[in-house]
């Protein structure tokens, strides 16, 4: 299929003299040819049905027979309105579809217009709009105690909670964010592109590295009827709430103790120094990030359900326990 813009339809006809063929034009301009190829690839992506309807009274040129039109979200996140093919599995919200080039309508002068129609290849296994369970997200600046709290929660609820594994491109190994899986930069990029990794961010340790969560891992934990726990930063949290729905996330922001922002930052500085893992320069950089994180609590209020001060570990863990099990049941 060739076209010079995403919405110029390829037109074919019974009479060869009427065939419109933009090929020679496209072939002479390499950049345009490449872009056309890209668009082609983009348009031929499979996707999922977000909504559908069957048109009983078609407009001029679309024939007399009813047909189904669906709003489809392609795996790259773009959306398209298109007809479904008559063959294929029954359609439903969440069903998976693949594109085919088919005749879509006939013009009065006898020209036939082709466009993409989608075939349902897999019926929906998980209804798109149903919230199954939720994710506990802990957000906070470096040094606030996310890891310690997570560990403590896991030991308290080992039978009902599990930590979601982190996919990262970091080379050097450190033990405090277990479990994590190291992949190459290219592999990470492919996973993001294919929508496997639903939220990702760039973190800074000794070097910059990328880290993200896979949807599959979260769903696997749900399937075991457990509560997935993630430690996030603002970008991961935004990514997760976009991919899973904001209502799916019980989001806790963690604050270091202190009555003012300056006091909070000095607590963090003290904690980071006492860890002895970083140079003074790295600590300085982390503090800058921490300051931005604290600002985020007021700038992105909608992303947080609760803000907790990590003054004493036990009290903080106890308050999270109460949020997770409001009736005191574990």
């Amino acid at each position: 299929m060739r076209c010079s813009s995403p919405r110029v339809h390829r037109v074919t006809s019974r009479s060869p003299t009427l065939t419109l063929n933009p090929r020679p034009f496209v072939d002479h301009i390499p950049a345009l040819h490449r872009r056309t190829k890209e668009l082609e690839k983009e348009r031929l992506l499979p996707g999922k049905i977000l909504s559908f309807t069957t048109i009983r009274h078609p407009p001029n040129g679309f024939g007399q027979e009813p047909y189904t039109v669906a709003l489809i979200e392609r795996i790259d996140g773009s959306r398209v309105l298109a007809q479904l093919t008559r063959e294929g599995k029954p359609h439903a919200i969440g069903a998976e579809v693949i594109p085919h080039l088919r005749r879509i309508r006939s013009m009065q002068n006898g020209l036939h217009v082709n466009d993409l129609k989608y075939e349902v290849v897999k019926t929906a296994d998980i209804p798109l709009f149903t919230v199954h369970a939720y994710v506990l997200a802990l957000t906070g600046p470096c040094g606030v105690g996310k890891t310690t709290i997570t560990r403590s929660l896991l030991s308290l609820f080992s039978s009902v909670a599990a930590q979601v594994p982190v996919y990262t491109t970091r080379k050097s190994k450190r033990t405090d964010i277990d479990p994590y899986i190291t992949v190459t930069e290219e592999k990470f990029e492919t996973m993001v592109k294919h929508g496997e990794i639903i939220a990702h961010t760039v973190l800074r340790d000794r070097d910059d590295y990328r880290a993200g969560y896979r949807k599959e891992d979260i769903q696997a934990i749900w399937k075991q009827a457990k509560l997935p726990i993630v430690t996030t930063d603002l970008r991961l949290l935004e990514g997760l709430s976009k991919a899973l729905g904001r209502e799916t996330i019980l989001s806790c922001g963690l604050l270091p103790p202190g009555t003012s922002r300056r006091r909070m930052l000095s607590t963090l500085l003290h904690r980071l120094r006492s860890r002895g893992q970083h140079t003074e320069k790295q600590i300085e950089a982390q503090l800058k990030v921490a300051e931005a994180d604290l600002q985020a609590y007021s700038d992105h209020k909608h992303l947080f359900d609760h803000l907790l001060v990590n003054d004493q570990l036990e009290t903080c863990v106890e308050s999270i326990k109460e949020l997770v099990t409001p009736n005191g049941r574990v």
Binding site: T53, N60, L71, P127
Partner: protein, 380 residues
Amino acid sequence: MRETVYVLGGGQTRFGELWEASLADLIREAVDRAIENTEILPTDIDAVVIGNMLGGETAGQAHLGTLVSGCLPHHPPALRVEAACASGGLAVHTACALLESDKAETILVVGAEKLTDVPGETVTSALMHAADAEKDSPSGLTFPGIFALTATAYMHAYGISRENLSLVSACSHRAAVSNPFAQFRRELPPEAVSKSPLVADPLRLLDCSPISDGAAAIILSTKRESPVRIAASQLASERLSLSDRPSLTSFGSTRSAFDRALAEASWQRNDIDCIELHDCFSTATLIHLEDLGYCEEGEAIRLYCQKDTDSNGSLPVNPSGGLKACGHPIGATGVKQILDCYKQLTGQAPNQVRNAIRALAHNVGGVGATCVVHLLESIA
């Protein structure tokens, strides 16, 4: 509002399949009635605004501003505005802007549409001009089809039953029985709605507002006083194509226009006594009520189950019969809504809401792509 804009009153034709009348006939009739009812001199009018969507496509007539102007002896300056189904509301909004900026002191606002002179498929295709021609139309969608996509998503998300959804159209029909200008003046049992033929599932024929002819005209003035004023006039937009929207079950334009209108008038939501709502499709009605903030998302159907939306209920919606039962001559609807609010606030409405002092007119174009909100207040 920078100036006090008074609604002097207005007039309208009956809405329906008016095969004996042309677009110009309809406009003349509405203008004559408006002038007669408001008892002003035609020469007091110093500008004309007309809202119309498909004059060229379905009536072979564009250049409507000058056509209306020609109905007046001194042919004042005139202009036509278009925002699909919100063309009427946009005409009122434009007139308010002209009055506030002192370009005119008394304006005749007309909304008119003539759809039934051409075959059904032609109207269906022409109505799709309100959607995105590059992203929506090539798939063979119709306008009911686009709203059906939002309806499928809405019913799936909130689990609305067919029986309950049918209460929405039944409520509009109940209200229209006493309205002499309505297209359908008979009660409709909810079962009839559930059994009507499918247009674009889940929407059935009686979930949809009809294709109608009609015209309405009102006169707004900053010079002449009246017991009703416009307290706020706000316009908002949303992405044109449904495929670019963040949500299928909410229209951002309604939220933004209504919030700004409440701020402009310094009113609270609960100050409003009756609503003329853009009930083009039954599920859209529910979405609009949620976007206006009168209930939580997915909860609007409860208002209909409890009959709160009846004219004697706690939140009277469309005591005129709305688009569903009065008919929906595209460009005329937004102007007719203001006229119906005026009648409620002056105690002249056939289906009167008791002690109505503040009214809301909510007019939508496309699938929530444009929204015009007007707030009216009785200052008698």
